[in-house]
Amino acid sequence: MSGPWVEKYRPNKLEDIIGQDQITNRLKKYVNEKSMPNLMFTGPAGVGKTTTALALAKSILGEYWRQNFLELNASDARGIDTVRNNIKNFCRLKPVGTPFRIIFLDEVDNMTKDAQHALRREMEMYTKTSSFILSCNYSSKIIDPIQSRCAIFRFTPVKGHEVIERLKYIAKEEDLDYDEPAIDSLVYFAEGDVRKAINILQASSAVDEKITEDSIHNIVSKAKPQDINKMINVALTGEFMEARNILREIMIMQGTSGEDIVNQIYQNVSRMAMDEKIKKETYIYLIESISETDFRIREGANPRIQLEALLTKFLAKN
């Protein structure tokens, strides 16, 4: 099995998952008992929520796991219809060869409130035949009734030395030539996100024979979205039409959501202030505008128009 290393080196067993020992130890009890309550995994990206869910399902359901396991990515299918159709149809059927079926819902925090309420009913109705594993980045976005129906497990960013160990293991398996500092800086950039770390490692192995600190820096800067930075700089020079075109490119072509762009603009602007590229007064003025844009987008305004309006605040602020 070749392909992306994130998949190739995804642990299949609970005991092989790194950095989440406390959680996996408790989950192993469910495997021994062959039963489990509804679970909720919360935590940042790339710390093993999906991997743990898959490994748990495989351990509990054994050889029939495929027939009795439903994986749904809630952020792609987050409407109430998904809950009503896909999940209901799956829960209705009797488990085959296993005591119960498992439904894994990823990124539940992106589900609409309506869909969450519908989900709550399903969780109650099918307790005898099905168990749910929900995963999310922020448990605060999940309605209380669902939280109260789940055993909550909080995943933390994977510690540096554990990531290093893992990366070195992969490097050995793949016959990679690398520097020690390269791995250190990789871990620094990954910020506890193992998926990101492995992706950077594979990307740099694609480009360089020997992986050095420089090659890691190179990959990280290439993979970072440059367009937002460019857009802000163009706006600062007063070229509104051009900046607006870049924004549209990002939103329409690349399909980046308004919320993501607001976040990136915010990060960019605060970095510029730290580097003293803009005045303090300008900085706080821009932050005020960004916060207002953020609020308006959440209020249901059209994100593109709001962001175009935000761009005008950058004009002639250089």
Binding site: G3, K8, G255, A301, I305, A309
Partner: protein, 486 residues
């Protein structure tokens, strides 16, 4: 009696304006009369410019005519039966005289309904190609989809808007005949407001004259509001060019989706306004208008719309210090055309993201976030091949990450490797895939080359064997503890 009927021209010469078009039509008839079959003509122009009138007057000069317009059902069967029969038959006494020709008028062709008039355009096309009779088609919208196939087979005659001078003159003639007195300004305003539509001007005049014999500017107010049908471009121009509250409020009365109007205004703000401060102020207003649209949507309380209208109209207009004296070229919302142009690429991105999300257990948006890494990985031929075959990407989808195709040589080599791996693993356990892969390779190229490659790969093969052996030893030691799937 309706004045529009009373004063409808009785002969072709009486038709107002459009001398060039009239000449073309007259030539067309006289050719038919002389026994020279002509292409059908398609009269295109805004309402009230005399298309139907002209068609009927021409028809009058022939002995017989058949008309079908939007009030009739115009499905394939109907058109075929009523017009089709007539168009392909001639009278019993076959003679070449024009008297025997039947003129067929199809009015409001662009109004053929997509589903109710099923096959309507097809029938028309058929009549055009088969018909032996003069055929006149009339339509309002030259760019209508229903006209695309018809346009190529007909001679198009454009009937432009009537000039307000000629409309004014005609209105005055009616007033004189009806014994109505008027202020000059009334006629002027009326013909201006009619926007080149003689029919509506006459109708308006009749409404005003119903109760009075003397018309003043006061009377025009009765019809003033209803008739301010400006186009979206006119409205945008007014907002950006003017500062008058009166004009702008009027311009905001439009039969368009208000959010679309907002997009239109936003698009053109930086095309008109030059000062950054002005653009910023204008966009503040646009943002507020948009916010109120959002509030209306989420609360289902559409009275918020009125604030939007004020912000995007007067608000944007007052953002400029002075009005610009220049010609600015306005365009439709750029983001809309970008959406259209990039639809294909976007679909491609989504299809790749879907494949990734399925195989890698991530959401579509997370998959898109990983595109930059994929691009870097795909710069390496071998990795590109491995990942694309893992994700089952087709050639178009691979192009999303790299411009060049993956070299065939690499594909071949990688396939050989796969066979080797499968063979060696089949020593330990049974492998079902190896046969498939071998047959695939023979599909791709002659086996000779492959076997050569295999020879050169022998060294690396031996190395691999060693590793495999080690692994198998480990496996024996602890039955099920192979850490990772290879």
């Amino acid at each position: 009696m309706l004045w529009v009927e009373k004063y409808r021209p009785k002969t072709f010469k009486e038709v107002l304006g459009n001398t060039k078009a009239k000449k073309e039509i007259e030539d067309w008839i006289s050719n038919w009369k002389n026994g020279i079959p002509q292409k059908p003509i398609l009269l295109v122009g805004p309402p009230g410019t005399g298309k139907t009138t002209m068609a009927h007057l021409i028809a009058k000069q022939f002995s017989d005519s058949i008309e079908l317009n939007a009030s009739d059902k115009r499905s394939y069967a109907v058109i075929k039966n009523t017009v089709g029969e007539a168009s392909s038959t001639k009278s019993l006494f076959e003679s070449e005289s024009s008297e025997e020709l039947k003129i067929i008028i199809l009015d409001e062709v662009d109004g053929i309904h997509g589903t109710k008039d099923h096959g309507g355009t097809r029938a028309i096309n058929k009549i055009i190609t088969e018909g032996k009779h003069p055929l006149i088609l009339a339509a309002n919208d030259f760019y209508s989809k229903r006209l695309t196939t018809i346009k190529t087979k007909t001679k198009t005659i454009k009937i432009p808007k009537l000039r307000s001078n000629s409309i004014g003159a005609f209105l005055k003639r009616i007033c004189r005949q009806e014994g109505i007195e008027f202020d000059e300004d009334v006629i002027k305003e009326l013909s201006k407001q009619s926007n080149g539509d003689l029919r509506s001007a006459i109708n308006d005049l009749q409404v005003m004259a119903q109760t009075k014999d003397y018309l003043t500017m006061e009377d025009i107010k009765i019809i003033g509001l209803k008739d301010s049908r400006s186009t979206i471009f006119d409205s945008v121009r007014t907002v950006l060019k003017s500062k008058s509250i009166d004009k702008i409020k009027k311009a905001m009365i439009l039969e368009e989706d208000p959010t679309y109007v907002l997009e239109f205004i936003a698009e053109n703000v930086p095309r008109e306004y030059e000062d950054s401060e002005e653009i910023k102020k204008a966009y503040d207003m646009i943002s507020l208008a948009d916010l109120n649209f959002g509030r209306a949507r989420s609360s289902r309380n559409y009275s918020y719309w009125r604030y939007s209208s004020e912000f995007m109209g007067l608000g944007v207009a007052l953002s400029k210090k002075d009005t610009y004296r220049k010609f600015s070229k306005y365009t439709g919302p750029g983001s809309f055309s970008l959406m259209g142009r990039t639809r294909k690429k976007k679909e491609l991105r989504i299809s790749v993201a879907k494949k990734m999300s399925e195989k890698l257990h991530i959401s579509n948006s997370e998959a898109i976030n990983e595109f930059p890494y994929m691009e870097i990985m795909f710069s390496n031929d071998r990795i590109a091949y491995k990942i694309s075959s893992f994700l089952d990407l087709d050639d178009d989808e691979i192009k999303l990450f790299r411009k060049k195709k993956i070299p065939k040589k690499i594909i071949k080599e990688e396939m050989v490797k796969k066979v080797e791996n499968n063979n060696s693993s089949s020593l330990e356990s049974s492998s079902l895939n190896s046969v498939n892969v071998v047959s695939k390779i023979s599909d791709i190229d002659d086996i000779e080359n492959v076997s050569n490659l295999q020879k050169t790969k022998n060294n690396s093969k031996k190395k691999k064997r060693k590793v495999e052996n080690k692994n198998s030893e480990k496996k024996k030691k602890s039955k099920q503890t192979s850490l990772f799937e290879f």
